[in-house]
Every structure is written in structure tokens, then in C-alpha cells.
Symmetry: C2
Subunit: 107 residues, 2 copies
């Protein structure tokens, strides 16, 4: 029950569903790419990314001070079903704006 509710409560927020869809669509993103693309402040993103990671939807890879978030693979069966559901939601995604390309965050 605990694990199930952790998954569900991670999904129970429009910001996090958008994040999952965005990262699923665009692949691995660092936090500052998400900041520039989704127009969200860093503390807000950090919070939601942690919740999605703790619930088993995302993985993080750290390179120096940078943190790259991507969809965890493999996903649990139900998490995978959920991601499929999120893939077909009629969401208008903002385009990916890479502010990490130069190796320095261009914010």
C-alpha cells in the first residue's frame, strides 16, 4: 500500500505529470534545461524531481555539479502503464531550450 500510494501521490500534481511527459519526450535533461524550457524556478523543479525520483519514475546521473534526470529504466509494470497513459494526454509541451549546451548554464 505504501509503495502504491507513493507512486500515486507522485503523479498527483500537474507539474510533475508535465515533467514526466517533457523528460519522456526530450530525454535526459539537466535542471537548468528544465528551468529555461518550462519557466519554473529551481527550487520548485528540484522538489518535484526528487518526488518523481523517490517514487521510481526518474533516475539521476550526476556529473560534477550538474544533475541529469531521465526516465528510469526499466520501470515497474504499473509505472510503465502510467507513463503510457501520460504519453497520450493532450498536453501542449513547450519546446526544449537547452541552457546547458555551452557547459555553462545560460540563465
Amino acid at each position: 500500500m505504501e509503495t502504491f500510494l507513493r507512486s500515486i501521490s507522485a503523479l498527483n500534481d500537474e507539474t510533475r505529470v508535465l515533467l514526466l511527459r517533457f523528460i519522456d519526450t526530450n530525454g535526459e535533461c539537466c535542471v537548468c534545461d528544465l528551468q529555461s524550457s518550462l519557466d519554473m524556478i529551481q527550487s520548485r523543479l528540484s522538489r518535484h524531481l526528487k518526488i518523481l525520483k523517490d517514487a521510481g519514475f526518474l533516475r539521476v546521473e550526476r556529473k560534477g555539479t550538474w544533475a541529469y534526470y531521465s526516465i528510469k529504466t526499466p520501470l515497474e509494470r504499473y509505472a510503465s502503464e502510467t507513463l503510457q497513459e501520460i504519453r497520450v494526454l493532450p498536453i501542449t509541451l513547450p519546446p526544449l531550450k537547452k541552457s546547458s549546451d555551452s557547459g555553462v548554464c545560460t540563465l
Copy 2:
């Protein structure tokens, strides 16, 4: 997004997951059967049953002053996947106590 989040937020509560599992296991239940079986007060049950119904997990059939709740059929694909997930959660269900058998609620 709206519909998806309505489903998710309906699931985001231990009481409602328990209700789904209980009704799925025991079949159609009236509110007072749930009161006696789950030891919950009526207003609390009424609230949660409404949320589950509005999210498309339950249906209601009214007979006189009684309301019988059961799992809606057919369920949407994702709702059905979710119910399967709930079926395998390690929950200890209390036994069904029918307080509606005599036609009068024996509370």
C-alpha cells in the same frame, strides 16, 4: 490532463484504495454495509464513494433510500490496470458485515 488527474487524485488516499479493494472483493455494497464492515462513519464514506464514482471507478444503483455501490463496468483501460494493481496489494481486508440483510440497517 484534467481527467487523468481526477483519476489519480481519486486514488491518492488510503481510505479510497481500501474501499475499491473491498468492493472489488465483496461485490455490490450499500453504504451501511461499508459502515459496519470498515468501521467508518457515514459522512466519511459518502464523501469517498462520491469521489470514486465521479472519477469513474464506481457506479451507484439506488433502490429507495438505499444506495448500492459497485465497481463500474467496463472500466477505462487505465482504471482497469489500476484496479489490477490494487488487487495485488498486500492489504488485510476486514470481513464483510452485512447490516442491510434484514431490509433495515442494523447499526
